[in-house]
Symmetry: C2
Subunit: 129 residues, 2 copies
């Protein structure tokens, strides 16, 4: 009855909800080689294990913070090669973490510009009266 397949096995809609990636995007990522290890049920539908879902969540974070697909693909290849590559993956995440911090600084800078502009609008409106 209400069993969602094997426990520990999620449907694409559940993964979508959890990761914030759209269903189309998940399929697109699979096609692009970011998660070639997703299994299918006998009915041809994708079945996601807990660790598949975790992986997609990490991908979502990387993408949301601006990692280009080419790098994500490289990262995915390391992941697919197993635990020997952890050192390399760690290095990649560290590099990306730096660029994320740069990005945050850039957003702050833009925020300041925005606020200065708002201030100027206020000044102009005062002058008009």
């Amino acid at each position: 009855m209400g069993l969602t397949g094997k426990a520990n096995c999620m449907k694409i809609s559940e993964v979508s909800e959890r990761t914030g990636l759209s269903i189309s995007t998940i399929r697109f990522y699979e096609k692009s080689g970011l998660c070639p290890f997703i299994k299918r049920g006998t009915d041809g539908k994708r079945t996601f294990s807990k660790s598949d879902a975790d992986w997609l969540e990490l991908l979502a974070s990387l993408r949301a913070t601006g990692m280009p697909m080419a790098k994500m693909r490289a990262f995915a290849n390391l992941y697919a090669c197993g635990d020997d590559t952890i050192q390399e993956r760690k290095a990649a995440l560290l590099v990306h973490g730096q660029s994320l911090e740069d990005r945050q600084a850039e957003l702050d800078r833009c925020h300041t510009i925005l606020n200065r502009k708002l201030q100027r609008y206020d000044d102009m409106m005062k002058d008009q009266k």
Copy 2:
């Protein structure tokens, strides 16, 4: 001699340097109606006034913080209509400022996920030994 045209008049390369937008992007923005008021010299080259450059700098901030072109175009239309629209422009910037803060929060969230992942890599490497 070394005079760069009228003072108060910049070339596209100078505006590019100052705003961080590529020269192509500036031309593309003009074609897209984000700055239809840029004048040309008798030689057909674009000549940017100080306020043109300021405007493009603001556009750059908006774009860098994720405002879609359609909204930028709406904003540009208000700008082109003159000072009567300041109230509306201010409202638009406030709305965008909110979405910018949301975006910053999202980046922070992703940053946390990244760091947790790094921590887990460290744990795994310890276990391997």
